[in-house]
């Protein structure tokens, strides 16, 4: 891997939602890099701030939300505070987003071709005809049979898997440098999920596009990602190479997460169980957010642990990481 600058570099990003009930610190100081051609897995439980991270990068935070700190350096430019017109040029062209629910992301009342062509014409001054040809090619690329006819269809005429492929095709249209995939297979069957994963993998390999794959499903990340970031309550608690983290988790949360995935060798026996439930992001104290559920927590955890690098390429935020097992 070359030593060139990473495609995306996030430094201490903070995105808060200033609601009436108080500040929701959905993303609270996260940093990570994504390199060219790399798949970064971003995992964590529901509500931990994965999607907000993705939207922060795109500059699409919903109303009470605001980036309150940090930098998002994409190809050398800081996206935080970039003018809306500049940001629009990056969205969809340099960075593409794929959503979780394929039923909801395509506008039900517009034809597929309209939705694809507008994505091209938003960035390039090309004729409809040319744009249409490109749209057709993109559909073919994601394995949709007879793309010419399918262009004229409406989203509801597609099955869930097909729709997700259309979404991927749209993401591909402008050959972006980075794709943010926000749980794109969560709503799909295993067999369809496998097809989507196959397309995604092929894509990164063929085009060298970098990808952030957001999911709560460790097993998916295991097969797809090169590196992994584990999020908990708005912070990244652990990151590192996929094999290292999964085989040898440092953070008690990662440890528990991996333990709670049913798998062959644990059949019939009780799964590892993280007690309690995800805390409300509104009422986070100053200390480690996981301490209420953590078996290793002690007085020290009432303070916020800083990221440490117990091993090269690994990073963990914990006072009592599972270092002894390694």
């Amino acid at each position: 891997m070359s030593q060139s600058q990473p495609t995306l570099q996030i430094e201490d990003l903070k995105t808060h939602f200033l609601t009436k009930a108080g500040d929701v610190k959905a993303v609270d100081g996260i940093s990570f890099n994504v390199n060219k051609g790399e798949v970064l897995g971003l995992v964590g439980e529901s509500g931990c701030g994965k999607s907000v991270t993705g939207f922060s990068i795109m500059g699409l935070i919903d109303h009470p939300g605001k980036i309150v700190g940090g930098r998002i350096i994409f190809n050398g430019t800081d996206l935080v505070g970039l003018a809306e017109t500049e940001m629009r040029k990056i969205r969809g062209r340099k960075i593409a987003l794929i959503f979780q629910d394929p039923m909801m992301t395509l506008n039900p009342v517009l034809r597929i071709d309209t939705q694809m062509i507008e994505a091209i014409q938003a960035h390039e001054n090309v004729s409809r005809k040319v744009a249409r040809l490109r749209a057709r090619d993109a559909l073919g690329q994601v394995g949709i049979p007879s793309p010419d006819e399918r262009l004229r269809a409406y989203p509801h005429q597609f099955s869930g898997g097909m729709r997700q492929r259309v979404a991927i095709a749209i993401a591909l249209l402008n050959k972006p440098d980075l794709i943010i995939a926000d749980e794109p297979t969560t709503a799909l069957d295993v067999t369809i999920q496998a097809q989507i994963l196959y397309e995604a993998q092929k894509l990164c390999r063929d085009t060298g596009t970098a990808m952030i794959w957001i999911t709560h499903d460790l097993t998916v990340v295991a097969g797809l990602a090169d590196r992994i970031c584990v999020m908990y309550a708005g912070r990244i608690v652990e990151k590192g190479g996929i094999d290292e983290v999964l085989d040898d988790p440092f953070h008690p949360y990662t440890y528990g997460l991996i333990g709670s995935v049913p798998s062959r060798n644990k059949r019939g026996s009780p799964l590892y169980q993280i007690p309690g439930m995800t805390p409300s992001l509104l009422k986070l104290g100053s200390g480690c957010a996981f301490r209420e559920r953590c078996s290793r927590a002690d007085e020290a955890c009432k303070n916020m642990p800083q990221a440490t690098k117990p091993k090269p390429g690994r990073e963990v935020r914990c006072f009592h990481p599972h270092l002894e097992t390694s």
């Binding site: 439980e45 529901s46 099955s159 869930g160 898997g161 097909m162 069957d189 295993v190 067999t191 369809i192 999920q193 496998a194 097809q195 994963l197 196959y198 993998q201 709560h216 499903d217 460790l218 097993t219 998916v220 295991a222 097969g223 797809l224 090169d226 996929i242 094999d243 999964l246 528990g256 997460l257 991996i258 333990g259 709670s260 995935v261 049913p262 798998s263 062959r264 644990k266 059949r267 019939g268 009780p270 799964l271 590892y272 169980q273 993280i274 439930m277 995800t278």
Partner: protein
Amino acid sequence: MIVAQNPSPPILELRGISKRFLKELDFAGRMAERLGADIHEELVHAVDNVSLKIQQGQVVGLAGESGCGKSTLGRIVAGILDPSEGQVFYRGQDVALMPAAQAQATALKIQMIFQDPFASLNPRMRVQDIIGEAPVVHGIISRKEREDYLDEIMLSCGLDPSYKRRYPHQFSGGQRQRIGIARALAVKPEFIVCDESVAALDVSIQAQILNLFIELREKFNLTYLFISHDLGVIEHISDHIAIMYLGRIVESAPSEALFENPNHPYTDALLREVPRLENRHAEFAPIRGEVPSPLAPPAGCHFHPRCPRAFDPCAKSAPQLVTLGGERQSACFLNDISMSKNG
């Protein structure tokens, strides 16, 4: 001796169960059809001639892709839907032929736990009513015993009894699912149908609920029909697994045997696609195509258009589910060939 060889009947047996959903045409529709409009009655074979035996204390997993009829089958078992054809036997007795009182008792013996922790609890009832309504109505407990009984049930489902005056929305997803379980347990069931009961939960919560299922099974001597499309979960909890494809069971075997050595090409493909923690940097090799519409399933073996090993007879007739030794059953013509080769 003879008695010992003839064990008690399975707690639940399905024989030739089919369920068809028919969207009939009204008068105008029929007229239009006569006039040559492109309108037809739509017939969905949601469940097609399914037979299955479940022994007391077993956990039977039912897996398959979306729309293959898992939930429909589960509902038939739970008595929410009536089968179009076939019989359901509970402890050897045909449910349809039971006298009313017994039928009701049986209905209570078979309970169901649902997928959506939000939709499966009545948002306008307090937890105590959700759990306590049916036992009081059916005279399982008296009104006076209710409080104690509630505490007991809630505790065994890992719920704090002091929450019983709350409404469902005041609970997290995992807790809601526990309330659903408590509701089912409150009528003292013997058999529980779990329809995707953990699909909507986060992994950590999912583990809690799965553990609870395993715990309760031992504590109350329950039998589960565990429906899920997540083979990892199925594998974890089930003793025996049935794989469905487009309304039919294509393979049914003890879990170990099934995962070790899948017989049906569909099972095989499915298992290979299950993402696992151990598979890093996987090469994904998906089955092409998607589940066909149940409105117009392919002739013969429903799987043949997607099957890498399909051959002539597959398109012509549907293979029967045959016993392949032990408790394994499979419905594939390839077995005929291998058997004839062997034999």
